[in-house]
């Protein structure tokens, strides 16, 4: 009994000290505000030896789409953003999904006792087709965006144009237009 009491006191003291230990953890740094992607388009970087100023050329159609996308930034977030930022709706959707799967299981068990084998086979077939389709679609996904920008330094040296995808983001503040190019470090000689 005495030993148990001492052991319990020691555990409580250890747990209490943990609170103080956590109290020493520094405050998390405020996460920087991420830019909100409003539009996806293409970008071509063209070195021009004759120009004196950098120029940004935007076609009229792209500008219209950009204005339209910019106007909608406050009103219509994407579906994924919508779901991510609404925990209530996600919870209710999950609850209904749980109910759907549960009741479908009961229905499946009941109907398999009867005669509905063809319907079940059809459902399984459709599920399999969708699964295979998903695998195929994912397998056919294009290369990541940074691949197109890999040759940018060399192309700039050679005076060639380079094209690739571009997400246009709206960031808070009043800074200059910034172009961020996804360049991976080239492998150093001897690493390969």
């Amino acid at each position: 009994m005495k030993r148990t009491l001492i052991l319990s006191t020691a555990i409580c003291a250890l747990l209490a000290s943990a609170i103080y230990a956590f109290g020493d953890i520094a405050r998390p740094k405020p996460t920087p505000v991420e830019g909100k992607t409003i539009f996806y388009t293409g970008l071509t970087i063209v070195p021009d030896a004759k120009s004196y100023e950098a120029r940004l050329q935007i076609s009229q159609e792209t500008l219209k789409r950009l204005q339209s996308a910019g106007a909608n930034t406050g009103g219509s977030p994407s579906v994924v953003q919508n779901v991510m930022h609404s925990s209530t709706r996600t919870i209710v959707a999950g609850l209904f999904m749980f109910l759907a799967v549960s009741f479908a299981g009961v229905w499946f068990a009941r109907s398999s006792q009867r005669r509905n084998h063809k319907a079940i086979a059809a459902v399984l077939l459709i599920a399999a087709v969708f699964g295979i389709g998903t695998v195929l679609v994912r397998a056919n996904a294009g290369p990541p965006g940074y691949i197109r920008w890999q040759n940018l330094p060399q192309s700039l040296k050679d005076g060639k144009a380079t094209s690739g995808g571009l997400n246009i983001e709206i960031v808070p503040g009043d800074e200059n237009i910034k172009l961020i190019i996804p360049l991976r470090n080239p492998p150093k000689p001897g690493e390969e």
Binding site: V79, R89, F96, L99
Partner: protein
């Protein structure tokens, strides 16, 4: 006998029933295809203008025809279907009131715009559960049917609805016009079974027309919605929910489907006799029931005609506001189609 045998048969017109059926089926198919192609062409060419004119001309009358049709399909005595109709009418009433209350409560600042998706999702959930209840009740009326799949299906749709409530509501806007084609199918099966195969073959044209419209219009610039009416029409077709899709395509598609919907209710179903003789109330079973009030039914139909006239006047004096009110109140006829379609299955 000899005289009969010697009659010159070649001089007689084609009188065999099979030939008559074939000719009438061909005429039916040609009418369907021509109507669908003309509707698609008009909707693609002048979407906003055709939308305004179509809703002005046909929105009210098609509701009157639907009311006339529903009255005709209502049994004189509910019998075993008493509970089914009780749930159906209660659902139509409460869901319509709820649908009308949503914008009213929003404008009364009862909730903020941020809660709007939750309110819409809740209403859609109630709609789906009501439909599932009707399907299960209808299924139980026949021992050979097992329609208990309706519950997991409804729950699955509820889950999708809670993830994307606005898009789910938009799907109802686009799918509702197609329900009329289902009604036509069921009636042809009952009254003109010889046309059914032709009709179903013609239906294959529908996805082709839709794909053709998408192909032609997906690259077109969006419609100029610089005035309130054009903005309302593009919003109703999902312009804000699908910003990457041209509103020209969205409005054209919606108008095309609406034209098919109006065509079925105002032309096709009355022509094949599904609505009975329009001015005769004898085809309405409720009027023949002992102790019923046939004059009340007649008065209801006449009052409905008056409402159609009021709707036309409203469209004339303030088209945008009347259009908003119409599409809110018209939810009742969208809901009413469900139980009557289930009764046909």
């Amino acid at each position: 006998m000899e005289r009969t045998a010697n009659l010159p048969l070649a001089a007689w017109p084609v009188a065999r029933p099979a030939d008559r059926t074939r000719v009438s089926a061909r005429l039916f198919a040609v009418s369907l295809i021509a109507s669908a192609c003309l509707s698609a062409a008009l909707a693609s060419w002048l979407p906003l203008q055709v939308s305004i004119v179509t809703v002005f001309l046909f929105a009210g009358p098609h509701n009157w025809f639907e009311l006339r049709y529903f009255l005709m399909r209502l049994p004189a005595r509910f019998g075993r279907s008493r509970n089914f109709f009780a749930v159906a009418f209660a659902g139509i009433g409460l869901l319509t009131l709820g649908y009308l209350a949503l914008p009213a409560l929003y404008y009364a600042n009862v909730w903020s715009g941020e809660n709007w998706p939750v309110a819409i999702a809740t209403w859609n959930t109630l709609l789906l559960l009501w439909l599932a209840a009707l399907v299960i009740m209808r299924g139980k009326q026949n021992s050979r049917r097992d329609w208990s799949w309706a519950l997991p299906a409804a729950f699955g749709l509820c889950a999708v609805n809670w993830l994307v409530p606005d898009l789910f509501s938009l799907a109802i806007v686009y799918l509702h016009p197609l329900v009329a084609l289902w009604f036509l199918d069921r009636h042809l099966r009952r009254t003109r079974s010889e046309w059914l195969q032709t009709y179903r073959r013609c239906l294959l044209l529908l996805p082709l027309l839709i794909v053709g419209m998408v192909w032609q219009l997906s690259g077109t610039p969006s419609l100029a919605d610089d005035n309130g009416l054009a903005w309302r029409i593009t919003q109703h077709a999902g312009g804000q929910l699908l910003p990457s899709v041209s509103t020209h395509l969205l409005v054209s598609m919606h108008v095309f489907l609406e034209m098919l919907h109006y065509g079925v209710w105002i032309i096709a179903l009355p022509l094949i006799g599904a609505s009975g003789a329009i001015w005769s109330t004898r085809t309405i079973p409720l009027t023949r029931r002992r102790g019923s009030f046939p004059k009340l039914i007649v008065a209801m139909l006449i009052c409905s005609l008056f409402v159609v006239a009021v709707l036309w006047m409203g469209f004339t004096f303030n088209y945008p506001a009347t259009r908003d009110i119409y599409f809110a109140v018209a939810m009742a006829h969208v809901l009413a189609e469900a139980p009557f379609l289930l009764r046909m299955l």
